[in-house]
Symmetry: none
Subunit: 193 residues, 4 copies
Amino acid sequence: MPDSSRRNEKSRRAILTAAFELAGEVGYGKLSIEGIAARAGVGKQTIYRWWPSKGAVLFDAFLMMSEGETGELPYTGDIERDLKTVLRATVAELRDERYDLPMRALNTEMMHDPELARTYTERLEEPMRDMKKSRLRKAVEDGQLSDVDLDVAVDVIWGPITVRWMNRSGPLTEEFADVVVETALSGLRSPVA
Amino acid sequence: MPDSSRRNEKSRRAILTAAFELAGEVGYGKLSIEGIAARAGVGKQTIYRWWPSKGAVLFDAFLMMSEGETGELPYTGDIERDLKTVLRATVAELRDERYDLPMRALNTEMMHDPELARTYTERLEEPMRDMKKSRLRKAVEDGQLSDVDLDVAVDVIWGPITVRWMNRSGPLTEEFADVVVETALSGLRSPVA
Amino acid sequence: MPDSSRRNEKSRRAILTAAFELAGEVGYGKLSIEGIAARAGVGKQTIYRWWPSKGAVLFDAFLMMSEGETGELPYTGDIERDLKTVLRATVAELRDERYDLPMRALNTEMMHDPELARTYTERLEEPMRDMKKSRLRKAVEDGQLSDVDLDVAVDVIWGPITVRWMNRSGPLTEEFADVVVETALSGLRSPVA
Amino acid sequence: MPDSSRRNEKSRRAILTAAFELAGEVGYGKLSIEGIAARAGVGKQTIYRWWPSKGAVLFDAFLMMSEGETGELPYTGDIERDLKTVLRATVAELRDERYDLPMRALNTEMMHDPELARTYTERLEEPMRDMKKSRLRKAVEDGQLSDVDLDVAVDVIWGPITVRWMNRSGPLTEEFADVVVETALSGLRSPVA
DNA sequence: CCATAACCGAGACGGTACGTCATGTCTTCCA
DNA sequence: TGGAAGACATGACGTACCGTCTCGGTTATGG
């Protein structure tokens, strides 16, 4: 197995950058190890030596890009307002050409590679989910939300956005983001009942 | 352009069946036109003549499989109970090996092929969505649900399930289905507020 | 088996013309039955019905083209002069783009199809050879040639030309034609001997 | 362009051997790059990397086979006797199944590929022609032949054999070889003249 | 003078091979 | 020894033709 202490950092960054860019330029279908190596000015073996799959490269590329991206969701004291802010930002990002294609590429790999999905969940999704749950928890403490399972709450709020993006099953707009937040907060049940 | 009146129906069915089965057996990554043609006992050209892409074949395979599948969602008068029944069934199907892999394959293709996504939406998603909205509409009439945007309601209910399935971001169980229904119906907001 | 009395003469001519032209335009390698049928505005089956092979079509095309071509070689009384005239004409024809490629195509087919070679020999080569032998016989009668095997004589005179054309083993010029005639007539042996 | 220093010699030999054998077994029409690759246990790309065409492979196969084949034509002092010896050997070789088909295949390719014909001429034909001219030159020095153009002499002697082989226009026997030699040496012209 | 059998155009079909591209492994050579 | 370079066996791609096979739509006799 390779000795990572001898690893060439410049090559590593060149590969990840090339992978991310190519995913955005040519799309998932035409994203190839050969292409990444050529763009990065690197031998193919250098990729195969350090990553087990195309998806793993892509994942690391995301990791590098999102490095230092962090911290907390906004807190104004009004959970509805804050969730709308966040979801609108998410929608904007998903509509951004620069992120759309690479994210689709990564999602595709995850879809068929449970191991990659697990790693992704651990390294990228969980931290983000924790941020989300953290904000929701504060809202519970503020008496704005009832004491539900926060994981389910996250899924109910962010799930609809993700699905629309993936399947293009409807327009992915800021209005949609707002309505999702309102609906998730108020529930579907008639208040009379 | 091919003359569809001369089309060989037997070959068509053999191709769609082979595509569905292979998607289930070898997964998306190893699903090839050559493999489908070989399994179906058909020349490759016969596939290329009638379908523009691997995704289109897969889509037609789903169409054939879901032919006559239909009608209405259950109606007992209790929307919560009925939604739980439906979502539990959905979860069961998504966990069924026979459907999991082919669906992932189709979703992958849709993810990168907007035209295919559009067709899918029109031919398969819309009808199902209409069934769902129809059941929800009855619940509104029954005074069980408030008068929300039904498309958003559908996304809020079914979105979390779909996302967990796709990304394997958490366990996809019947309990999860139940909690999603309860949360979506009651909303996250504290009743005190 | 097909009833040739019902045969469509127009189609037949269109096929042969198309075959000859295409052989000249695209060369042997890209000459296809499909191409001939398309150019002739004819169904493929009409070709397969009447000819056993591509070579047979080509052969018939030559037969049609050389119809009525004939009679006798020139006779001025001087065999050397006459042979030079004939060989120069042959060289000119072989250098003519319009005949070069189709002839190469036909020769290729004959090379690998003994049956076709036999038919060609009978129908086209023998008549031409008879004309050649006829002229040589007259030269024998005129006391200009000794009484050799005329078939061998024909091969010795025309063989060198044919080989140079086929293999491009040297320049195929009128001068070459002249020298071949002179050499074949005089022989290689030193007159002293 | 490929770096020939990295070339795998074992693959090269396997390809050339396979090409020669297959040409002899299945004939020109069914000789395919795929078939050669399969027989040689080699990827198709390895053939496409190093040779521009099927004909070039075949040519190299001949080159390999005729390696070290050489030297000089027999010299007993009697040119007629020696030429008969050589032409009889040529006839025998052309009638040998092991050489007939591969040679036809190579000739076919040369016929349609001037570049290949040029290479063949340079690398295989010229050396053989030089041997032939060398023997004829000695005969001239011995006073057995007159001082004719030796290239034409070679064509007059060997041309008839080649043409009969290619076109099967007559029986290719040792008797024919003898008569061709006699006729070429004595000439056709009547000795009286 | 129609009926019926053939030819005809068109082109779908199961195949084979094409020439290209990417895979993941291996080897060579350089720093 | 890590890395750039790239040859290698493998296998899928999408295309071109093969030779066979229907499908209607004309001919063109022969009963």
